[in-house]
C-alpha cells in the first residue's frame, strides 16, 4: 500500500498520512487540510472518502487484508469491535502529552463511546444523536402549544396532528429501514439493553417492552406511515409538504432543511429534545471518532492530525462546513453554535446521550432491532413476541462472546463493558 501511495502521487519527501473519513464529512474535511499542511510542512495528508453504507465492510476487509490507513474516523459503535480485533492503539499516553485535548471538555456520553474497559481508544470528532425535527405551524394548527416532552404528551400531539391532516398524511416519520428510532426509545429505559456483561440480550425487560409498546402504537394509530427512507423520494420535500410533522433524525439535517426548504417555509420548522417516558429522555450517542490503527507506521504525524482536527476553532469551522455538531463544550460557546436556534435542542440532548452497548456484536444486534421493529410495526408480531424474538436473536449472536468470556480468551483489557449502565 505504501508503495502504491508513493507511485500514484508525486513523491515530495513529505511524510504521508492516510486518512479515511466517511460520507459527506470525508468530502468536506479536505478543505481543512491545507491549513494543517501549512502548520506541519513535513506532513502530507491523503484523504479517502468512504460511503457510509459500505464503510464498516470496507474497514473489516481492510483489516483482514492488512490495508488499513493511518487514521480513520469510524462510527462510535464500531470502536469496541476494532479494539477487540487489536487494530487500535490505546491513546491514553498521547492524551496526557496533549494539553489541548481534555476529556472533561467533551460531552460525557460521547467521550465514553471511545473508552473500552477503562482504556481510551477513540477521540470523538463529531457527535450526533437523534431527536425530532418538527413543523411548528402544523403543531399550532392542530392546537399543540409547545413541543411534547414525554411520551404521553407526544401521543396527544400525534393524535391531534393526524386528525388535522387526514388519512393521506401522517404525524411522524420513523423510517423502518433504520434501527435508531426504536433504539432511541429503548435506550431511555432504566434497564440495560444487554445483561451479564453483554452475554445475553435484555430486551424482555419491562423498560424495553414499554418502548416496543409505544413504537407499535404509533404505527397502529397510523400516526407514522409504514415506509422506509428509500421509499420516500425526497424526505425534505415531503416534510415541507406536511406529509409528516415529526421526523426523528440526526443533526446533519439542520443544514439540509436550511438548504432545501423554500425561504417562506424556513420559519415553520424547529428541533426539539426527544421526549422520554416521563419527561425528556435519553438517546444514543452516535457520531464518528478518530482512531489510530496499530498497523500505521506514521502514528506521530497521524496524532498531530487528530489533535488539529479536535481543536475547538477547527471544530467550529467544520461545523460551519457540514453542520455536524462538535463533541467539545468549548466549541459550543462560539456564537456560530450558541446562537443557532436549531442546534439548541441538540446541545440539550447531548448532555443526556448514552453510548450503545459496547460489544463487537452490537451492529448486528442493532440490525435485528431494525428487522424485528419492522415486523412489529407491520403488526406481524406482538410486543411480547418481538421482545422474545429479539432476545433469542441477540443470544444467538452473542454465543461466541459467551464462550470466549467463559474460556477467558477475551482478555480483560479487550473485554468491553456492556450495557448502558455507565452512560446514564
Amino acid at each position: 500500500m505504501a508503495l502504491l501511495g508513493s507511485c500514484s502521487h508525486r513523491d515530495d519527501g513529505r511524510e504521508l498520512v492516510r486518512f479515511w473519513a466517511m460520507g459527506y464529512e470525508g468530502e468536506v474535511v479536505t478543505q481543512l487540510i491545507p491549513e494543517f499542511e501549512r502548520r506541519n510542512p513535513g506532513i502530507r495528508v491523503e484523504v479517502q472518502q468512504l460511503p457510509i453504507t459500505a464503510a464498516h465492510e470496507k474497514l473489516l476487509t481492510a483489516f483482514a487484508g492488512d490495508a488499513l490507513p493511518d487514521v480513520c474516523a469510524i462510527g462510535n459503535t464500531w470502536v469496541s469491535e476494532f479494539a477487540l480485533l487489536d487494530a487500535l492503539i490505546p491513546l491514553d499516553a498521547r492524551l496526557t502529552k496533549t494539553p489541548g485535548l481534555q476529556s472533561r471538555d467533551y460531552f460525557a456520553g460521547a467521550w465514553d463511546t471511545g473508552v473500552i474497559g477503562g482504556t481510551v481508544y477513540a477521540v470523538p470528532w463529531y457527535v450526533e444523536t437523534r431527536l425530532p425535527f418538527y413543523r411548528q405551524d402544523l403543531l399550532k394548527q392542530a392546537g399543540i402549544a409547545r413541543p411534547p416532552q414525554s411520551w404521553d404528551e407526544w401521543k396527544v400531539a400525534m393524535a391531534a396532528i393526524k386528525r388535522e391532516v387526514g388519512p393521506d398524511r401522517y404525524a411522524a416519520l420513523l423510517p423502518l429501514n433504520e434501527a435508531e428510532p426504536l433504539l432511541n426509545l429503548g435506550i431511555q429505559s432504566p434497564d440495560p439493553l444487554l445483561r451479564d456483561d453483554g452475554r445475553y440480550g435484555n430486551f424482555r425487560s419491562p423498560g424495553f417492552k414499554r418502548a416496543l409498546t409505544f413504537y407499535r402504537e404509533i404505527f397502529d394509530n397510523q400516526w407514522a406511515p409504514l415506509a422506509s427512507n428509500t421509499q420516500i423520494a425526497n424526505v425534505w420535500n415531503e416534510f415541507g409538504r406536511g406529509y409528516f410533522s415529526f421526523y426523528v433524525n440526526g443533526p446533519w439535517n439542520i443544514a439540509e432543511f436550511k438548504k432545501r426548504l423554500p425561504p417562506d417555509q424556513q420559519a415553520s420548522w424547529m428541533t426539539m429534545p426527544l421526549p422520554g417516558e416521563h419527561g425528556l429522555g435519553a438517546s444514543v450517542a452516535g457520531g464518528a471518532s478518530f482512531v489510530l490503527f496499530r498497523s500505521s507506521k506514521r502514528q506521530d504525524a497521524a496524532w498531530k492530525l487528530i489533535s488539529y482536527l479536535s481543536e475547538p476553532e477547527v471544530q467550529v469551522r467544520f461545523h460551519g462546513l457540514t453542520g455536524n455538531l462538535p463533541p467539545r463544550r468549548a466549541a459550543w460557546t462560539t456564537p456560530a453554535l450558541a446562537d443557532d436556534v436549531y442546534a439548541r435542542a441538540f446541545r440539550d440532548q447531548l448532555e443526556r446521550a448514552r453510548p450503545a452497548p459496547k460489544v463487537p456484536e452490537w451492529e448486528r444486534i442493532a440490525t435485528e432491532i431494525k428487522l424485528v421493529g419492522e415486523q412489529l410495526a407491520n403488526g406481524r408480531v406482538s410486543v411480547d413476541q418481538a421482545a422474545e424474538e429479539l432476545d433469542r436473536r441477540a443470544d444467538r449472536i452473542l454465543e461466541k462472546r459467551r464462550w470466549m468470556l467463559d474460556h477467558q480468551t477475551l482478555k480483560p483489557t479487550q473485554a468491553p463493558v456492556a450495557g448502558n449502565k455507565e452512560g446514564g
Binding site: L176, T230, R380, W403
Partner: protein, 292 residues
C-alpha cells in the same frame, strides 16, 4: 511419449490453473464451513473452533434461511419461465420476415444486458415509486389505485422479477435468434405446402429443433437466477420485511457484512447442492425426452 502422456502435458497448464484458482478455494471454503470463523477468529486464531456440521444444522434451523430459500425459489420458479418466454418471443419477433428496423431493435433489446445493474436499478426504483412513479401513473389511467411496489412485501418480489427479466432477456434472445436462424427454411416451406398453420409450424418445427438451445438457455438462466443478489441489494436491500432476501444475499450479509465466514461458506455450499440438484433434474428430464 505415449499419446496419453502428451495429452496430460498439454492439459497440465490449464488443469493447474483450475486447481489453484478454483479447486483449492472450494476446498478451503468447505473446510471453513466446518468452523466458526468470525471476527474473533480474525483477531486471534486461537478463537477458531471446529464445529463440524453445526453451521449447517443452525442454518437449517434458522427461519431466515428458509425464508431466503423460499424467496429465491419464488424468483426462480416465476422468473426463469418468464425470462425464457420473453426472450423467445422477442427472438421470434426479430426473426420474423415482417419485422422492420431489426438491427435497431436487436441493439435496443440487448442494451439492458450490458448496462450496469446499479444505474438501471436507480431508474427502476423511480418507475416503481408509489406516488411519483411512471408505473402507478400509467395504472391510474386504467383506474387502478397506486400500488406500493417496493414497500409492500407482496409486490416487492414481483417487481424485482420484472426488473430482472427486463434486464436479462436480451442475452437469451441473442442465443435464440442464432438458433432460429440455423433452422433450414425449406422445412417451413414443406410445412406450408402441406397446409400447416403458423402455430403448427412453431410447434412441430421450431420448438423441436430449438430443443437443445432451449435446454442450454434453461440451464444458464436457472443457474443465473439461483444466484439472485444484485437486484435486491440495490433496489430493496432485502426488505420490506425481508421479502427479497435471497440465499446469496444472506451469504453476502453473513460473510462480508458480519464476517461470519464459517456460516457464509455453509450457505454457499447449501446453495451449491441445491443448484446441482436442480440442474441435474433438468438434464434428466431433457435426456428422457431425448432433447440432448
Amino acid at each position: 511419449m505415449k499419446p496419453s502422456t502428451a495429452g496430460w502435458v498439454f492439459a497440465a497448464p490449464a488443469l493447474t490453473v483450475i486447481g489453484l484458482f478454483f479447486g483449492l478455494p472450494v476446498l478451503a471454503a468447505l473446510a471453513l464451513s466446518l468452523t466458526d470463523f468470525d471476527i474473533y477468529a480474525l483477531a486471534h486464531i486461537d478463537n477458531l473452533r471446529f464445529v463440524a456440521f453445526d453451521n449447517y444444522i443452525n442454518l437449517l434451523n434458522n427461519p431466515l434461511f428458509w425464508r431466503a430459500l423460499g424467496n429465491t425459489m419464488y424468483f426462480v420458479v416465476v422468473g426463469v419461465p418468464l425470462s425464457i418466454g420473453v426472450s423467445l418471443g422477442a427472438a421470434l419477433l426479430l426473426h420474423s420476415k415482417l419485422g422492420y428496423f431489426k438491427p435497431f431493435f436487436r441493439t435496443a433489446f440487448f442494451a439492458p444486458v450490458v448496462t450496469t445493474v446499479v444505474a438501471v436499478a436507480v431508474i427502476w426504483r423511480y418507475l416503481f415509486h408509489t406516488r411519483y412513479g411512471l408505473v402507478n401513473w400509467a395504472l391510474s389511467w386504467a383506474g387502478i389505485d397506486p400500488i406500493d411496489w417496493l414497500g409492500d412485501p407482496h409486490w416487492a418480489m414481483p417487481s424485482i422479477i420484472l426488473f430482472a427479466v427486463w434486464k436479462n432477456f436480451g442475452y437469451n434472445m441473442i442465443i435464440f435468434l442464432a438458433g432460429l436462424q440455423a433452422i433450414p427454411e425449406d422445412l417451413y416451406e414443406a410445412a406450408r405446402i402441406d397446409g400447416a398453420s403458423h402455430g403448427k409450424q412453431f410447434r412441430y418445427i421450431t420448438l423441436p429443433i430449438l430443443g437443445p438451445v432451449l435446454l442450454m438457455v434453461s440451464i444458464l438462466t436457472l443457474a443465473g437466477y439461483f444466484q439472485l443478489f444484485a437486484e435486491p441489494y440495490v433496489i430493496t436491500q432485502g426488505g420490506p420485511l425481508q421479502s427479497t432476501v435471497s440465499v446469496l444475499y444472506l451469504m453476502y450479509e453473513e460473510g462480508f457484512k458480519w464476517w461470519n465466514l464459517g456460516n457464509a461458506s455453509a450457505v454457499a455450499f447449501l446453495l451449491f447442492v441445491l443448484m446441482t440438484v436442480a440442474t441435474s433434474g433438468l438434464m434428466w428430464i431433457a435426456r428422457r425426452k431425448g432433447v440432448e
